[in-house]
């Protein structure tokens, strides 16, 4: 669960990692054995050479946003084209996404 700090609920790193892992696991249920998204947190996720196509990205965004909201009550918006094109693109890898979410919430 989240951790209360002065009236706010903070989402802990381990919880963020679990939310992202569950979203990735759900995507993997739709993918063949050869096409699984690996567990390596630094593997390329979205972008040239990444394992996610745009449909997968949409689903990952929705699952993670909902997961964060369920855990913290806080609605985050990950569907930001400018963000995707920036150096900060959180969907570069699982590690980037987790780090971004921890900063965000």
């Amino acid at each position: 669960m989240g951790r209360e700090t002065g009236g706010e609920i903070r989402v802990e790193t381990s919880l963020v990692e679990r939310i992202v892992a569950e979203a990735v696991a759900d995507l993997n249920l739709q993918r063949s054995a050869e096409d699984q998204i690996g567990k390596d947190p630094h593997a390329l996720l979205f972008g040239p050479g990444g394992s996610l196509d745009s449909l997968g990205l949409v689903q990952l965004i929705a699952e993670v946003e909902n997961g964060v909201e369920d855990a913290s009550g806080q609605r985050v918006n990950l569907a930001d084209e400018a963000l995707l094109e920036s150096e900060e693109n959180p969907f570069k890898s699982i590690a980037f996404l987790c780090a971004y979410l921890v900063r965000l919430v």
Partner: protein, 555 residues
């Protein structure tokens, strides 16, 4: 065994395609995806997706109400739409889909829903002219159209949505990906689609083998006596066992047979079943039992063998994890579901199995338990006579063969689609397809009813015959396992060859299409037609096959 399913939608249901393709539950599904948003072009043209479609492919067509019946969109702009306009819109939509009816084995249509956020006029939306009212009208019309169709099967989207603990709709998924539901709905839909596919292809389960103590009632009858077991009464646990037994009784009444495998003293267990006032299931509801202190896996295997039911058609339910593990390990084909510890969840757990779906019910389904009880008496009578011949003579067996009649089409199709072991070529057809096939030139379908002094087994055999250049082929030789070993196998061959002679065919070819399950059919043919073998899988029959002396054939 793999089944193919064509997915067509006005929205993006790619997540469903992925889940369906990778789900490990039987049957494995080969998914053919039509690009989304082109329902009409797919059904009105020879779109490339049809190149992968074979005759037994099921098409799942999942649409939003506004795209199926465009008039609905006008409601949102304040224009009134009548009930008749909606009905004719649904008729047109179904007619569109039926343009490909000859290419498909089944048409699966999820009922229409609106997103839960579509409130419009609130409660007023269910009044005439409201969107929710219109969707209810659409579904009512669809249910009516599907009522007598052997091709159309409806999926209850509302119960799918209601059973999802998570979000069922996500506006972001819709706006970014045109995905109409959250993934939880698609995961749920996979189970529903597979349940229909199992029912369509004769893979629904037929036998439930049940434990007694802490499964059908609370407590150990051997220790506390039947008066003290927890069943019924003012006790939520006792009530839960009654509800579970009622659910089982419901399955039994539509043809799923029940048997017992319990470690107990048989006398004490049967006394509880006969005497406890709150037992819903009584001795006559169980077609067989193995109540002793021996191994449960052996008991389950013996019951399946005694009832002539394949292990893959058996479900074993036991509250004890060690017993489940033992049966799972020894009999991997048997379905052994994990079982909740809380009896209050038993009835729901049974429903969740989705293993007993029946798309159509015949009169024989309701009598199946009684038929097996008659078989038990028949087998007991065999043990009392000195020879098989004397026993067969004593049966007073009457076999009635008739050309396929319209009243019998439902049961005949069910027999064709559910029978695995005594099935020559395992052809699967809907009732409409079977009737249409039978009307073709040089084709005949015959049904066979069997009765003896113990009871009437009903329609339990089917023959398909096809003429070809002065010769004949047996396209279907199907027999319910419960009448095997009484001369009905020979009687079917008699009917086939008599018809071949009446049609002037010089010979009749019987060619088996081997499957994992129809080995009993091959064994029967090898035994009866040993001298008429033509090839590895085929036999040639000339002249009329002799009818067993004890059979009173009516044709």
């Amino acid at each position: 065994m793999t089944t193919s399913c064509l997915l067509v939608s006005d929205a993006n249901i790619a997540p469903l395609a992925g889940y369906l393709r990778n789900d490990t539950e039987s049957p494995q599904v080969q998914v053919i995806e039509a690009p989304y948003g082109i329902v009409e072009p797919v059904f009105l043209s020879e779109h490339e997706v049809w190149s992968g479609v074979e005759g037994d492919t099921a098409a799942l067509v999942w649409t939003r109400p506004h795209s199926a019946v465009p008039a609905l969109a006008q409601l949102e702009f304040g224009r009134a739409v009548s009930r008749e306009e909606i009905a004719s819109g649904v008729d047109r939509f179904v007619e569109l889909l039926l343009a490909k009816k000859d290419r498909l084995g089944a048409l699966l249509l999820p009922l229409w829903t609106l997103p839960p956020t579509a409130r419009n006029r609130g409660a007023g939306d269910l009044k005439r002219g409201g969107c929710q009212w219109a969707v209810q009208q659409m579904n009512a019309r669809l249910v009516l159209l599907a009522e007598d169709s052997a091709l159309i099967h409806l999926l209850d989207t509302h119960s799918m949505l209601a059973s999802c603990a998570e979000r069922v709709y996500d506006a972001k998924l819709w706006h970014m990906g045109k995905i109409p539901f959250a993934n939880s709905v698609f995961r749920r839909a996979v189970g529903e689609v597979k349940a229909v596919l199992r029912a369509l292809t004769g893979r629904a389960k037929k036998l439930i083998v049940l434990d007694l103590d802490d499964t059908l009632w609370g407590g150990s009858v051997g220790e506390v006596g039947w008066e003290q077991i927890r069943l019924g009464g003012h006790d939520y646990v006792g009530e839960a066992f009654v509800v579970f037994q009622q659910a089982l009784k419901g399955l039994s009444s539509r043809g799923i047979i029940l048997a017992l495998a319990s470690r107990n003293e048989e006398r004490l267990a049967l006394e509880a079943i006969d005497s406890h006032p709150d037992m819903v299931l009584r001795r006559d509801d169980f077609v067989a039992w193995q109540i002793h202190w021996g191994d449960k896996a052996t008991s389950v295997a013996s019951l399946a063998s005694e009832l002539n039911i394949g292990l893959s058609e058996v479900v074993f339910i036991d509250d004890h994890p060690a017993e489940r593990a033992r049966v799972r390990e020894a009999l991997p084909e048997v379905m052994v579901p994990e079982w909740p510890e809380d009896p209050a969840l038993y009835a729901d757990a049974l429903a969740e199995l989705r293993a007993f779906d029946a798309l159509e019910l015949s009169g024989e389904d309701g009598r199946r338990g009684a038929l097996y009880a008659e078989e038990r008496k028949r087998s007991a009578s065999l043990r009392e006579v000195e020879s098989l011949e004397v026993w067969l003579e004593s049966l007073e067996l009457v076999v009635t063969a008739k050309k396929l009649m319209s009243d019998d089409i439902g049961r005949a199709a069910q027999l064709l689609n559910k029978t695995n072991q005594m099935n020559l070529r395992t052809r699967r057809m809907t009732g409409d397809q079977l009737a249409s096939w039978a009307e073709g030139e040089d084709r005949e379908v015959w049904t066979v009813r069997v009765a003896d002094r113990f009871g009437d087994a009903g329609l339990c055999g089917l023959l398909g015959l096809k003429g070809r250049e002065g010769r004949g082929d047996v396209t279907d030789y199907v027999l319910s396992c419960r009448v095997m070993g009484r001369g009905v196998e020979e009687s079917l061959l008699y009917v086939a060859t008599a018809r071949a002679q009446a049609n002037g065919w010089s010979s009749l070819q019987v060619e088996i299409l081997p499957t994992e399950k129809n080995k009993p059919c091959r064994a029967v043919l090898e035994r009866l037609l040993a001298e008429r073998k033509r090839g590895e899988n085929s036999w040639d029959l000339e002249g009329v096959f002799p009818l067993p002396q004890h059979v009173d054939m009516r044709m």
